[in-house]
């Protein structure tokens, strides 16, 4: 039996287990739209913790994290900061959003926002922004899965086949079981990827340098400045403090506004579960420490991977580890990719159906679910086809989408904390924020001090929202009270 046969067998076993968990989970929910999209609002602490953590720690964290540490040094530490800080507002906002969702039957972010600010245009705008942000995100997850499988099977399973196999399974279980599959597979995948990350993160520095401390000593003497913030930018030049700090701020403002994470508030059994998950979240984020150690282990390695994102599979292949371990590592990386990919696929189908199509076409529960299943396949296939092409523009698009997604933060905050906000004010603020972010992203020479364009978008968005709201007719008191009156 050749080495890659053993690796492929381990990957196959992992995929079969994931598929089984995904399909079995579907039997736990009712066959209503609420069951398919919000898991009958019945997720307990364990599943909610992993669904939050694993949905956030995507292929970007597992492959991109080591890539950042390897190529950009201390710049990678911005990821350490934004995750835990970004979850803090959720301690207050999450339970309130969940309360309102429970009382009014909301299952998506746009339903929540347009509940307070009724407007079909706003709903379609949010659904479109979600889709624009999701497609490159899913595509990168699919490509990440394909890259790993191709690398560890020494090219015997090409990217196209590997990605099709992994994401064929994801599409199938999400289509059959909805959010219950996302929740339970994320629990399994979360445990798996944390374990693999810690094993590799401690093993590689010990194997190559004799220990973690020795590794950082060697890097500090060979590359002074590499281990202090703000590190390097994408071109290997020193990054600016403004670039680093604004990246932390945009990411922490935007992180919980991603619709696939936001709408999970509607799946929690009760508010205590949301609060406890927020408190426990830093324990999940610790997983980034070994992820960075893997990347730093490659810094002084004489041979170079084809791109920095390849550093993890590259290091694995350099260590002559037994094929069983390589297979398990690959399954860990697939876990990271698939646990986010499934939440995104499910989220995009739910958003398009609930927030766009359903506003114009009357659908019963069964028709709505059939449409969502159909949309899951369409989005999955479209993202797969994009993943086969050149992905450099997609990485750029993903970075821009963070700036766009963080524009939803003032909208959500206004919905629950500002009585005087109006629908027209919200529409004006959101469109101006998205417009400025997009324009500055396209012509990035205009951004001063290397600031993230999302920050400048917010600096436009917030005053426009306030001024236009104050200039337009306030909403009815009793309508607003429904969103303000819920106790925490």
């Amino acid at each position: 039996m050749e080495r890659w046969h053993v690796i492929a067998t381990v990957i196959a076993c992992y995929l079969v287990i994931t598929l089984w968990i995904g399909l079995a989970a579907g039997r736990k929910s009712t066959s209503s739209v609420q069951g398919f999209v919000a898991g009958d609002r019945n997720f307990g602490l364990l599943v909610f913790y992993f669904v939050t953590g694993a949905s956030m720690c995507s292929a970007f964290a597992f492959l991109g994290g080591p890539g950042w540490a390897y190529g950009r040094g201390a710049a990678a530490f911005y990821i350490l900061s934004y995750g835990a800080l970004g979850m803090v507002p959720w301690y207050w906002i999450g339970p309130r959003v969940a309360d309102i969702g429970r009382n009014r039957g909301f299952v998506t972010q746009a339903q929540f926002i347009t509940g307070r600010f009724p407007s079909r245009l706003l709903s379609v705008l949010i659904a479109s922004l979600t889709l624009v942000a999701f497609i490159p995100y899913i595509t990168i997850q699919i490509r990440g899965a394909g890259i790993v499988i191709e690398a560890v099977t020494e090219g015997n399973i090409p990217l196209e086949i590997g990605a099709a196999l992994a994401y064929g399974i994801v599409t199938f279980y999400v289509m059959k079981s909805g959010v219950m599959a996302v929740g339970w597979t994320n629990t399994f995948q979360g445990v798996f990827m944390i374990t693999i990350a810690w094993i590799l993160g401690l093993y590689l520095p010990t194997h190559f340098y004799g220990g973690v401390g020795q590794m950082f000593d060697s890097i500090a003497s060979a590359r002074p400045g590499f281990l202090t913030v703000p590190g390097l930018d994408g071109n290997g030049e020193p990054w600016t403090w403004a670039g680093y700090s604004s990246a932390v701020l945009v990411s922490l403002i935007g992180v919980q506004m991603w619709p696939h994470l936001f709408m999970k508030a509607f799946t929690a059994k009760n508010n205590d579960i949301i609060r406890k998950t927020t408190i426990l979240f830093p324990t999940f984020w610790l997983f980034l420490i070994p992820v960075f150690l893997i990347g730093f282990a490659g810094v002084l390695f004489p041979e170079k991977p084809p791109t920095s994102d390849f550093v993890l599979p590259f290091m694995i292949m350099q260590t002559d580890l037994p094929p069983l371990i390589v297979g398990l590592f690959c399954a860990g990386a697939l876990s990271a990719s698939m646990s986010t990919g499934d939440a995104l696929l499910h989220g995009s189908a739910s958003v398009v159906e609930e927030d766009a199509v359903r506003l114009f076409v009357k659908l019963d529960d069964k028709q709505a679910q059939t449409l969502m299943r159909f949309l899951i396949v369409i989005v999955g296939v479209a993202s797969y086809l994009l993943a086969l092409g050149d992905h450099s523009s997609l990485v750029d698009l993903l970075l821009a989408s963070y700036g766009i997604i963080c524009q939803l933060a003032p909208t959500v905050l206004a919905a629950i904390y500002w009585k005087r906000a109006t629908t027209i004010g919200i529409l004006a603020g959101l469109t101006s924020g998205v417009f400025v972010t997009t324009i500055l992203f396209v012509s990035n020479q205009l951004t001063p001090f290397g600031l993230h364009e999302g920050i400048l978008g917010l600096l436009t968005h917030i005053p426009v929202l306030i001024i236009v709201s104050l200039l337009t007719h306030p909403q009815r008191e009793e309508h607003v009270e429904g969103f303000m009156g819920n106790k925490l």
Partner: protein
């Protein structure tokens, strides 16, 4: 301790965590040595900061849940 004081203290500590995670606060902890558990000082400090966020929220939640229980009890007494 009074819940308002706890909230204020927690808010201040969380703001401090944010201040040390970006410029200019981060400049104060931005060095490689001494290594802490083998990690560069700045990496260890940022890790400690995000773990501290969990601890602050845990303490806040302990007091908040006590305050919620008292509120629920007084509401049910009023209804009776």
């Amino acid at each position: 301790m009074d819940i308002t004081k706890v909230r204020t203290l927690a808010g201040l500590l969380l703001c401090l965590c944010l201040a040390f995670s970006v410029w200019p606060g981060l400049v104060l902890i931005n060095r490689v040595y001494p290594l802490v558990l083998g990690l560069p000082f700045v990496m260890a400090a940022l890790t400690a900061i995000f773990l501290a966020i969990g601890v602050v929220l845990f303490i806040l939640e302990t007091f908040e849940s006590r305050a919620r229980n008292i509120q629920t009890e007084s509401t049910s007494k009023e209804e009776n």
